[in-house]
Amino acid sequence: MEDNVVLYIDNHTVVVPVGTTILEAAKEIGIEIPSLCYMNMKDLCITNLPASCRICVVEIEGRKNLAPSCATRCEQGMKVKTSSLRVLNARRIVLELILSDHPTDCLICPKSGKCDLQRLASRFKIQEISFKGEQSQYEVESSPSIIRDMKKCIYCRRCEMMCNDVQTVGALGAVNRGFTSTISPAFRKDLKDSECTYCGQCVAVCPVGALTEVDHTNRLLRDLADPSKTVIVQTAPAVRAALGEEFGFPPGISVTGKMVSALRELGFAKVFDTDFAADLTIMEEGSELLDRLTRFLDGDKDVCLPILTSCCPAWVNFFEHYFSDMLDIPSTARSPQQMFGSIAKNYWAELMNIPRENLIVVSIMPCLAKKYECAREEFADAGGDPDVNYSISTRELANLIKRANIDFNALPEEDFDTPLGESTGAGVIFGASGGVMEAALRTAYELYTGETLKNVDFKEVRGLQGIKKASVNLKGFELKIGIAHGLGNARKLLEDIREGKSEFHAIEIMACPGGCVGGGGQPLHHGNSILLKARSNALYEEDYNKPLRKSHENPYIIKLYEDYLGKPMSEKAHHLLHTHYFNKSE
């Protein structure tokens, strides 16, 4: 029993392991102590514990002061009250103090309905703020992906923790002190002039409206209403695994069919799938891997190994900023979003006889960096017309469906359009950490060995462990692969490569913890890692139920190569599906 403590919370007897906090112990018996700054993603070893907001205070018998339950460990025999009058009054005062320097413009706030502060203000029935005083004044600042409105910041420092401790990007930090303190890039620069990768994890954890995404919904509605334009859409794999959460589905239910119906209802001319482009990515990236590998085995000393995946635009930004001495290591394959745009605006537009200028390609992404990625100059034609016109997030799509009076739950399940809507299970799992590598292995194995892969499930590359390792036997050659999600984990693998210590031949990297399922454009996870697990499982289940599960077996991919591209890494494929990187280091 030495490893456990017994305590009493609101007259319940609780037994918890030594070291458990009061807040976590209360959660075990179903008492949700309100919190704002506290965040704990146990599976990912991510915690935010500044104990600064003081919303979670509780009364402990024998102690003079109220204690923050998030940071106070349980002790033997402790008697805790989580909702005494003194506690409730303290919480109300804390809330009023926070709100005394907050715009309280909830009706027109982009976070309205999703804001933890708003929820608490309602729960504590705050109807007037007794404290009147000076209010912080900051300009709203916009970047290609993220909007910062620091007037709304409550200094929980979750964003700072994500940006520094988890992502090791270091774009956001606390500056100044006292009333003038705020969270900002160094030298009060705009986000767009900082090291920000636009991963959007700051947005995913921000409890209030201080950090939100750039919204393209009105632009999309205008385009959909324009009869001169053909507006088509692609949906990323992770979107289907999370969209349902916005409509009351439990986490982990894939809503692919309803999502397709909803997009048709919204008026898209064609509903296509980024999963198709994910299959295409595997063809290009997988071929590049095999090409480098073959040259390596033939004794070519100049070949760059390990090869790194390049699907994730925040990750691309990260290495352009911090590992600009290694720009030749990542695969040159464009991301699925950009491959789709390129194929749609060239191959498909030609096929359908639609002039490029009349074709609008929209992407639905779990990601905020995708908004920035599609605006990168190299992904536009000579006249500046982008391959993907703009990207909207899973959250924005949910909002559009609600705005258009579509009863999502009542929608029938429909299929994507052909040809750019057909995909294999390999394309689906791109949305979970490890998925791209698993998909690549399924194809690389068969192309390299010429044999059929009996078991396509590479379970060792799945799950939330920060860095995963696996090896696959390719006819006697032990192919070693590494997988990292979260840029801090990626940094470790990158530094090993820089020091010549890397054991891997191929590495998959996703910027967001959990992969795209935990992306900055998804329904806000606010630090709940259960969501990430459930969403990943939904993708693996969809993969399992697909008739085809290897990218190179996608009949429309085969046809695309036969009719248009020739073969993977052909000159045409290079022109349309590959890219180059830029040195962004200072």
């Binding site: 774009a171 956001l172 930090g173 500056v175 100044n176 002190r177 160094a186 030298f187 200072e586």
Partner: protein
Amino acid sequence: MSEVKLSQHKIDQIIAICDEHHNKAGELINILHKTQGLLGYLPADVQKVIAKKMKIPVSKVYGVVTFYSFFTMVPKGKYPISICMGTACYVKGAEKVLDELQSQLGIKVGETTPDGLFSLDSLRCVGACGLAPVVMIGEKVYGRLTPERVKDILAEYYLLDAL
């Protein structure tokens, strides 16, 4: 004032300070302290050099520099002015003297005049409460100051500089 480019010599000196403290993150304040002692202030370029050397984000360095009022990103004037806002001086009318200084110099506390002659800071008690309100210019102490005397005192320094 134009931003002066850091010379390689200065960069080497800053790097030497970081090395003296073994580039340990916990030593950041000491490193900043010494660097400011060397250069008089901590402009953005200097913070970038320190961040790179210590392998920490520059936003972190900037956060510390802006947190502590001792650190400054603005070079001090040739004649740094410090006005005491401690209790005794405050009661004896330091605020009016400060207002006059600000209006004569056209700068606020923490700033430096564009000609680089004067910088203005406030501090708490110089141990000369009997002379309140007190202003220091460089090492020289001016006691029992009134707003009316500010103009004449500044004039002395303009004259001194012109010589």
